[in-house]
Symmetry: C2
Subunit: 161 residues, 2 copies
DNA sequence: TTTGTGATGTTATCTCATAACACTCCGCCT
DNA sequence: AGGCGGAGTGTTATGAGATAACATCACAAA
């Protein structure tokens, strides 16, 4: 997925220290909420954070074991479901991939700008309160969750190639 | 998918005559554009129109043959890809289903209000030009296509149950 | 009529995701 | 300490969604 194209990109994955910090923060918050940051959950979140871009579930499964041993699918899917429920990760439906939440946030609506060239994404605050919310109001719908994903080219990929 | 709940809903599927008319219009337009409305494409579009709500690909596959014989998956997936490319159908990524376009439109961006109770959807004009477009502009992204799906409850389902 | 392009038929396989059930861990109550 | 209960995990198997690859066919343009 990443680096399908050859040119250079900014915004590489965070270093180990940053991952560690985000992981700690997540663990602290979960504990405060009475949830448990178990080994599987922590590992999956660490993989997502380290990747810094959307990752396929089966890539997480393959990378799960520190020793190279893959996980069983339910292990990872359960962790993903939990992380998503807690707002620590998001599923990108249009590409069936998962990404760590970058907006610090609890369970919140998110929107994504996805570069089809280099595979990176940018999470932006969801416009649920905006156009879509107005359309829903007009139609009498009560919105509970949204999937908002825009595909295109990031600034770097617009220039290059 | 439909009628998971028991109460009554408005907006049932269109009658055979309406399907026929929409099918004719699509065929005419495609011919004018130099495209071919083949049997498989026509059949898949007819199924989508008759359903009037999102349909899973494998349901289309199962219903494909008039005699009850299922189609082979590629037959239906190819037709869906074509119809989507021509703006006659849309994929709803968040539920992996397909729906006939109800905005008369060529290839256009669409947004959907999806009722998780009764399974119906409502296509609304895409707010690409709105919040999301502004977010993309601000971030320097060039958007090529969007996936905008809001889940919740339709007016009928908000009242009932 | 030839020829090339787009569409279809067919087989096989790949990817994505979850059902079901046994078992374990851990906090809590007594 | 003992034992209950709920959340989490391990494991097997399977269901659901989608596509690769290649042979064949239909059709309009040359």
């Amino acid at each position: 997925m990443a680096d399908a194209c050859q040119h250079h990109h900014h915004d590489g994955p965070p270093g180990a220290a940053e991952v560690e910090r985000a992981l700690d923060a997540a663990g602290t918050r979960l504990t405060a909420e009475g949830e448990r940051m178990t080994a599987a959950r922590s590992r999956v979140l660490a993989l997502l954070l380290a990747a810094g871009e959307p990752v396929k579930a089966y890539d997480l499964i393959a990378r799960f074991g520190e020793d190279g041993q893959p996980a069983k699918p339910p292990t990872v899917y359960r962790a993903l479901e939990f992380l998503e429920r807690k707002g620590l990760a998001h599923r990108i439906a249009s590409i069936s991939a998962y990404v760590a939440c970058t907006s610090g946030g609890r369970d919140h609506a998110a929107a994504f700008l996805i570069c089809d060239c280099c595979g990176t994404t940018r999470e932006v605050s969801s416009p649920v309160a905006g156009d879509l919310g107005r359309a829903a109001d007009a139609a009498g719908y009560a919105i509970e969750r949204t999937t908002i994903e825009a595909h295109g080219r990031c600034p770097a990929c617009r220039i290059a190639v």
